[in-house]
Symmetry: C2
Subunit: 93 residues, 2 copies
């Protein structure tokens, strides 16, 4: 179920580096080494399979962009914010 | 060194599924399973490190898009076509 505008604002307030683009939330992660970024993509892909929720991922050398939305709901849902939190934890660990 | 327009046409004629977009060559690879696509991304990333030539990669669920250009030359070089051939071999193997 799509969340309210108020909930989106609140959720983005608790996340670092995520911004909103229309029906998406987006974050760019930067890495010191190319293969560090690739390892992060693998972590995100495993989380995506576990959560059955797959982000758009772009690999531009040492910068990885992740974009989340919920197609089935036609916008952002709690699952998008859960996934964003999980990617941030994977990035920090 | 940038290759000629004639060479680009010739090289694209020997590749399957690659198309030209301005200074880039682009191909979309489709996979039956999400993790098959992720494994392919890992193969491409290893080739990128070996060749010291890194494509743009986009992961959109089971579709992986690779884009190649040579920034240092300001356009397409033989290395782009070598990389394209290597990705196709990785896809088929």
């Amino acid at each position: 179920m799509k969340v309210s505008e108020e909930r989106i604002t609140e959720a983005l307030g608790t996340l670092e580096g995520w911004s909103r683009e229309d029906k998406w939330i987006v974050k760019k992660y930067r890495f010191r080494e190319y293969m560090d970024g690739i390892r992060f993509v693998n972590r995100v892909a495993e989380l995506a399979e576990c959560m059955n929720h797959h982000p758009m991922i772009a690999i531009d050398y040492k910068m990885i962009t992740t974009k989340l939305t919920s197609w089935s709901a036609g916008g952002l849902t709690e699952l998008d914010f859960e996934a964003a939190t999980a990617y941030d934890q994977a990035f920090l660990s």
